[in-house]
Symmetry: C2
Subunit: 322 residues, 2 copies
């Protein structure tokens, strides 16, 4: 007898659960050993509080009406609730603050096939500027994935503000910018190029807009991007140098077309890959404006890993004998 | 700057979280070592599916409307979702089935002060009859709490059907029964007595109805209850003997007034206490009719522990130097 469960959710049976639990415990131990203390925030938050963090993100959640008639939402990520918590509970605490979490997040989707409930293991580092903070987070994520048994994982690093800056500097009309950024966030480079054609820019501007998102590789890609995006490129260079010093440069792909969908990133953005599977295992970035919206302005960055996807990558690596 | 969170929810900061995590990991290890495999069911379920398990319980949850317009609920306990899962995913599996879980449950309250989100660590044993199944669950819970460092915990055992049977056998009018059971579930013995006075029963029936819920202690209390409730008393005696054989009789209180609020219990009911704190640390019981409602009829019983409350008891015991 089959009783349906909501689309995008699943039952996890003991054999799989044992592996997911081992994986999340490994990540949690690595994070805690690096000084990132685990926190728990409620799965339910007031919608108005989440909206203070990011209006677009807040719309992605399941909405819940409580007994008092207030509108709540299931958290759709952990970063906004932790930012909320820091302003309330760490108002005067010395920085940097380091937190980790192991919690499910929830997203409501119109279309089927997307996960509605997913287990995230993540870290947040608050009070440390770029590039030192970015590098600390990236190194920890790479090391934690090694501890979890991955051997082929890579971490893409881009800048969430780079293309936005470029569009502004090249004086692309404001109403054209958001659609372009959305195409880019979806990695639709053909769509990006078509939209740029329509703008009727100068040859040089056109080429810069089309080429920049395709630059991907080692530190040499940074030499091909400057001018209007020099600040972002300088920051990426600084971050890369710190990563090279710590011996993880071979795990890093600089990716100037990388743009995470979430609206609150202000600098470096990260995406975690494994060649054994065709999807990102997690991501994150720098969000220097978010904490200020809740009352304690601090530079910050973080990464969330999707434990379920990590597990699939682990299994795929083992199958390949990698 | 304070941003409110929903009533009954809380942020857990690293110092406390470390202890809660250690506690839940200890419980999980004990459960798994005893052959109870951890499972995860979605936090969101269709309301109609939860209602199949228990109409009253289903009403206790937060309601969520999904993007397809279907009515979902946050799970308000783990037992009904696991019963749902067993019928779907373990349709022909050999019994007994043993599962454990570590998951939050959610209850919506009209009044403030009640927890809306609470972390449960629990076990479910399916396919083993009373009293053997009851005793296995009780012993495991007592041992797991010992492993978690508790020294003074006790487990109350009653029978969820005993008073209902008594009311029926004594021919108490049907419309009077539910209010009486509700008073008893709230442990309002004065209210119970007042309601019984109004019934105008014979002296013998009146005394039985008033005395039975006050019987609490060792196996001697069973000698004082028989007649209409002989079946329940036999079962409790059988369970107690198995517990005595396994050396945990000193942890057990037989309690004929114990009646858990949840509607699906059909036999033994359990409640976990610690004299260091004034609230139950968890509870459970036998629910032989629940699985059949989902399609695979199996006798079953289980216990859920409230990890947060266990932690308070742990701390209180340490403070007392127990």
């Amino acid at each position: 007898m089959i009783h349906r469960i909501p689309p995008g959710t699943r039952d996890v049976l003991p054999d799989e659960m044992r592996e997911l639990r081992a994986l999340s415990e490994t990540l949690r131990h690595e994070f805690e050993a690096a000084g990132y203390g685990e926190v728990w925030t409620p799965a339910l938050e007031y919608e108005e509080v989440l909206q203070r963090g990011d209006e677009r993100l807040a719309g992605a959640g399941f909405r819940v009406l409580d007994a008092q008639g207030d509108l709540l939402q299931l958290r759709s990520d952990a970063t906004i609730p932790i930012a909320r918590m820091v302003s309330t509970r760490y108002e005067d605490a010395p920085v940097p603050l380091r937190f980790c979490y192991l919690a499910h997040a929830y997203r409501a989707h119109e279309a089927a096939g997307q996960p509605a409930e997913f287990l995230q293991a993540g870290i947040e580092l608050m009070g440390l500027e770029a590039p030192a903070g970015d590098a600390e987070v990236v190194v920890l994520v790479i090391r934690a994935l090694e501890a979890a048994g991955l051997r082929r994982h890579k971490l893409g690093i881009g800048d969430g503000d780079l293309y936005r800056t470029l569009l502004r500097e090249l004086e692309v009309p404001e109403e054209e910018r958001l659609p372009l950024l959305e195409q880019l966030a979806r990695r639709n480079l053909v769509g990006v190029e078509m939209a740029i054609e329509k703008l009727g820019m100068s040859r040089a501007a056109h080429d810069l807009l089309v080429t920049l998102p395709t630059l991907r590789g080692g530190p040499e890609v940074l030499d091909r991007a400057d001018g209007p995006v020099a600040r972002a490129v300088d920051n990426l260079r600084g971050c890369y140098e710190l990563l090279a010093e710590q011996g993880v440069a071979d795990r890093v792909i600089l990716d100037l077309g990388l743009l995470r969908e979430l609206g609150y990133y202000t600098g470096a953005v990260f995406e975690v890959y494994d060649p054994a599977v065709g999807f990102a295992l997690g991501g994150g970035g720098r969000y220097d404006d978010l904490l200020g919206r809740f009352g304690r302005a601090l530079p910050a960055c973080g990464v969330a890993l999707d434990v379920q996807r990590l597990h699939l990558a682990q299994t795929a690596e083992e199958r390949e004998g990698a």
